[in-house]
Amino acid sequence: MSLKPEFRVLFHGFLAVLWLAVSGLPAQAQASEHEAPAAAPVPAASAASAVRLQPGSDEPDLEELLRQELREVPREVEVSAASRFAQSAAQAPAVTYVVTAAEIQRYGMRSLADILRAMPGIHISFDGGFSYIGARGLGRPADFNSRLLVLLDGMRVNENIYDAALIDGDFFADVDLIDRVEYAPGPGSAVYGNNAFLGVVNVITKRVDKLRGFQLRSSLDSEGQKRLRASWGWRGESGWEGWLSSSQMQHSRRSLMNEYPPEHEPALRALKWARDQRVLGGVRGDGISLQAGFSSVREGLPYFLTEDTWDLGQYNSRGVNTFYALDYERSLGAHWDLSLHLSGKRVDFQKHSPFLDGPDTVSFYNERSLGRWINGDLRLSTQLWAGHKLMFGLEYQRDLVQRVSAGADAYGDLFVFEGGNRRNGLFVQDEWRLNDAHLLVLGLRQDRARIGGSSWNPRLAWIWRARPDASFKLLYGSAFRAANLFEFQVNEPRALPTPEPERVRSLEAAWDQALSPQLQLRASAFVSRLRNLISLDDSPQPYFINSPRLRTEGLELGLEKRWDQGAQLRASLSLQRTRDPQGQGLSNSPHALLKLHYSRPLLGDRLQLGWQLQATSRRHTDGEDLPGYVVQNLNLLWRPASGHELSLGLYNLTQTRYFDQPVVQGYPLPQPRRSAQLSWTWSFE
């Protein structure tokens, strides 16, 4: 891979971080590793003084222990995104990145989009209302995150019109309710089927151990956005638990993304507002879990009624999403585990755009997409045969309603398009332990759909625990994505063929190495071949076509360092290059992403500082290139007293001017300037 100047800068930056991390290694940490255990069980002096647990003295209670940070970089973190069941990350058949609730608080992350921004290899483009995810260099126009499968506690949340994954204010779980987010990059169709094209994101919500009693949180930011959340959680002696959370957001007179003459700004801002509401709750116990959620996002925007005057109208939109889900898990005898899931979901998105219907009459052009669907899946795992962990699975999705319509006031519906689809999947995965050092994971899934045809997707992973402090993974997998209803309805009325499902095959080699218990490095190299990518053509009235083949090569480097004093550093550098057969690159495909996260306690555990740096290299667009940029955020988290928490976040600290262009044939949109957010959380039982 030839390194361009910007690569060099980022690469040198990464090397500087590496040097910092290694040079800051305390001598004792390097010396005390892997020494033979002393014969007499006497712990080291410093440890002994800390663990001199005399009942009734200053010994740590369970709550204190649960708050303890790990001083070492754990190698056995529990993840479930790769295989659909909880397992150690070291054995998972995919590299999995995790962001936890502690980090969400520490870095002041405000939405799922913010959390995903912290993940290696992900870049997000924002158009003021919707966050478009690009992963490993692929972020195509008109893709509403359909190439990333997003799960909420293991349940698919991509909707059934655009296959969209909503990651802003319309995601069901407020960030305060998120326990951790896992991201497994790479094709995941071997266990997940459709949409797990670039990767799988699993958002795991908090349980009642963290949502006990009442919690109130209110936030205010310098842009005038107000947030309020209230939650309640209860757990009985039997282990049954229930929780309920409700969040509100109000944002009036929002700042404009573009510059306008100052005399017109107040009128424009008066028409620009956003409001959202979210409710999430559930009960759990005896292996049964019932959850339901609701989100509603309303937005108003100023709208020019004519080309050449300042006559303004009000554009408004409302998106309402609901779901209910039932999960059941139990063991069948000693060797079999059963897991059942059933969920129903609904999405209703409406847009109303004003237009002049006569000299003084303002009418609205109304667009609506309405979807209702059910998902069911059944998984059966067994370890009846020594060394094998077998999982069989069935999955089903039925679209009860898929309706896209457009019309105008007084004219009724001018266009209605209805669809109906059924998808089912059948999969098997075998985790085969060859010996203590080698694990093979073999998987295969067949998906069939009434519309969209059938697809076979294999998975092959070899996991080699080369040494106690190092492991190697070789991963091969494929994935597909069938045209969604939106893509179908763009082509169908014009008698154009529906695009074939797009496919990706990927080979990845990943190595992770602990240089010391407190410093871990990882590197992964991948090659992906994409076929039939569904994209818009470049005609004036674009429609969807299958693109020629693409090839992506990439490298992801990461390091994680922890210090005894509680400071932590995480850094990742992602390099990728995507080319078509003519050697042409893609638009919105940055070659390099650098992400740094550094946090440290300032006054014991009372005050935490969190600093984030996110750098993105130059991106091509269909017009001018978008320059690379570096954005930094700083957050202070203060716990003045038990049950109280204050957080001050500064976003885009250095006032970086940067642009995104998520829409094809659009223009670069300036991104948010510096802003601050103050939050206060109060918990009581």
Partner: protein, 183 residues
């Protein structure tokens, strides 16, 4: 409506970023936070607490045994535990290599992750009042009473209350309240 992009002047910003990073990583005076336990000691401290929050049937034993299988680092850390947690004469931390050796233990810590091994150890105990603690999701699925779970930022635990009751153990409500999951 078009907008001319400003010339990219990022060199300075990048330098700033690196300078800030260097400043943060080196210049701030160290502040010790937390209890200063290493990870095995933290696990050991949890297990010690679990034992404190558990009541065994019958009179207190003369000798309280923590038994550890397949977790040498944890066994090492547990040897540093306080000597009188349960008002008994002596506390012992023993390594055990065969399920039969675990019959006299009050707490059995299993550092295993294979279902078959986990089942073999637990079945050998029959209905004995032994608090079986595991440290993986697989251990919890295989029916241990308490399973530690490792998260990037700390430890948490799950409780299989019905299994603990089957063994005649009584777990305090404080522990049930703080568990990630109770089944």
């Amino acid at each position: 409506m078009t907008k001319r992009l400003p010339a990219a002047t990022l060199q300075r910003r990048r330098r700033q970023a690196l300078a800030l990073l260097a400043l943060l990583a080196s210049a701030l005076s160290p502040v010790r936070a937390g209890l200063g336990l290493d990870d095995a000691q933290l696990k050991a401290a949890f297990i010690y607490r679990f034992a404190q929050f558990t009541q065994w049937p019958g009179p207190p034993p003369q000798e309280f045994s923590y038994c550890v299988a397949s977790a040498p680092a944890l066994r090492e850390a547990m040897s540093g535990l306080p000597q009188k947690p349960h008002a008994v004469a002596t506390v012992k931390v023993r390594s055990v290599s065969e399920p039969q050796q675990a019959l006299g233990c009050q707490v059995l810590v299993l550092g295993l992750s294979e279902r078959a091994d986990l089942l073999r150890w637990q079945q050998a105990l029959g209905g004995e009042p032994v608090l079986v603690v595991g440290d993986s999701a697989e251990a919890f699925r295989a029916g241990v009473s308490i399973a530690l779970l490792v998260e990037p930022n700390g430890l948490a635990f799950r409780i299989n209350h019905s299994e603990a009751k089957r063994r005649g153990l009584s777990l305090s409500s404080q522990m049930l309240k703080l568990a990630r999951e109770v089944k």
